[in-house]
């Protein structure tokens, strides 16, 4: 019998070690796996690479994760934050590396990893500072850069509903990077607001088929703060 639900955070994040690369879902505070990140911050890990849209924003354990020196590198489109300077301070002191990636390229590089595409050409960033050092080719009259898929060791995500096969739904703008990160990591861990029995989720409503998901933990924490 398949049952992807795990009883506690230790089991959910078992196998996460120093130097790991972690994909983290969420846009702003919505769809962030807050409690999974809180727990990672408690694990005392070193030299993690964090890949997320807003890796500099303050929420839950993110600030602590940065402050304790667990993060060596951030791959991100928008590290700027109105509610925190923790990332910025560390970046300016040279304590955290930053790879800035245009948001659509970030999303597609992650989706590509999940879909088995090693690399692709895109016009975004061609001829700009963020295209420097990348293979550039003119395709159908447009300058394009080669972008490689982003694979990770762990993906930590938040869903609205999950069943024991790992089928997931999302709520409104809580979808964002979560569905594309599922399947781009060796281990995909999901915290979910609601638990459903098999068959309770309409197959047409499933946004992430369970095949991508390894572990699910029930964290009904309620509404995200802005």
């Amino acid at each position: 019998m398949i049952n992807k639900f795990v009883p506690d955070m230790e089991t959910a994040l078992a196998g996460l070690t120093d130097n790991a690369t972690i994909l983290m879902g969420g846009f702003g505070s919505v769809g962030q796996p807050v409690q999974l990140v809180d727990h990672i911050a408690e694990m005392g890990l070193k030299n993690l690479t964090l890949i997320a849209n807003n890796a500099g924003a303050a929420f839950g354990g993110m600030t602590k994760l940065l402050q304790t020196g667990a993060i060596g590198k951030v791959v991100c489109s928008y590290p700027r934050s109105s509610n925190s300077t923790v990332f910025l301070d560390l970046y300016r002191e040279g304590k955290v590396q930053l790879e800035l990636v245009p948001q659509g390229t970030l999303a597609e590089r992650i989706r590509a990893a999940s879909a088995g595409i090693p690399a692709f050409f895109t016009p975004t960033a061609a001829g700009t500072m963020l295209g420097v050092g990348k293979e550039t080719r003119e395709i159908n009259g447009r300058l394009c850069v080669l972008e490689e898929a982003i694979h990770a060791d762990f993906a930590v995500l938040e869903a609205w509903e999950a069943d024991r096969w790992g089928n997931l739904t999302y709520r409104l703008s809580g979808q964002n990077f979560n569905p594309i990160m599922a399947g781009a990591a060796k281990v995909t861990v999901v915290q979910t607001q609601h638990v459903r029995e098999l068959g309770e989720i309409d197959p047409d409503a499933v946004k992430t088929p369970g095949i991508y998901v390894d572990r699910v933990i029930h964290v009904p924490y309620g509404d995200p703060a802005l």
Binding site: G104, S173, P179
Partner: protein
């Protein structure tokens, strides 16, 4: 600047002027800052559908305090509403919509626009100590039309319309029109063309504040 200089438009007036030119039925993405104001000025007789990078089409106005939905924010991380007919999707699909040329228009802010349509709006250069790019490069490269709303000059009076951008580029040759606080200017294959000067402004006065050749429309 002489004491008799005509009035410059406010951010709200620039947004309102731009909103007049959006045709009925267009799909539009509004950047953070002044571009966001545009949605307040689209007249009720037009159906304009707003896209948000974080995965929304059919974004409506901000909710009042009693009707906030905590799971519904826009790319500027503000609470929004969805109109009847709206849809939600993931970030890869959202940027497929952008990069795939499906959006009719992106309205963006700008540090500089060059006469060939190059846009600089994401970084102040190598010493930028607070770097962030978000979706600006994808929008610049992908939307069918890119309209920039920005002041015509910096606070120091330096033109933001230039022959060649000095700040790092966001996208190459993508800007089609600029709405400034003194003019509406088209970016054509021949360069900047004055389409409209703000009330009280002459062609010569706009040209004087533009660091590139301006053509009469």
């Amino acid at each position: 600047m002489s004491e008799t200089q005509p009035k410059t438009l406010t951010r709200e007036q620039m947004a309102a002027r731009l909103a007049q030119d959006i045709p009925d039925g267009w799909f539009v993405n509004l950047g953070i800052g002044a571009p966001t104001l545009v949605s307040n000025y689209v007249s009720d007789d037009k159906e304009v559908i707003f896209h948000s990078e974080n995965g929304l089409l059919g974004v409506g106005p901000a909710p009042d305090a009693e009707h906030v939905e905590p799971w519904l924010i826009n790319a500027g991380k503000q609470y929004v509403t969805l109109l009847p007919g709206a849809s939600t999707f993931n970030s890869a699909e959202s940027f497929g919509i952008i990069r795939g040329g499906h959006l009719d228009l992106a309205v963006l802010g700008g540090y500089e626009v060059a006469e060939n349509g190059d846009l600089a709006n994401w970084s102040t250069g190598a010493n930028d100590s607070n770097p962030a790019v978000g979706g600006a490069m994808d929008l610049g490269a992908g939307a069918k039309q890119v309209w920039v709303v920005m002041d015509h000059t910096t606070k120091q009076g330096v033109s933001k319309l230039v022959e060649k951008c000095t700040y790092p580029l966001t996208a190459l040759g993508s800007v089609t029109r600029v709405y400034t606080n003194i003019a509406v200017i088209d970016v054509t294959k021949d360069g900047f063309v004055l389409r409209e000067a703000a009330p009280g402004w002459t062609f010569e006065e706009v040209q004087e504040r533009t660091a590139a050749r301006l053509l009469r429309g």
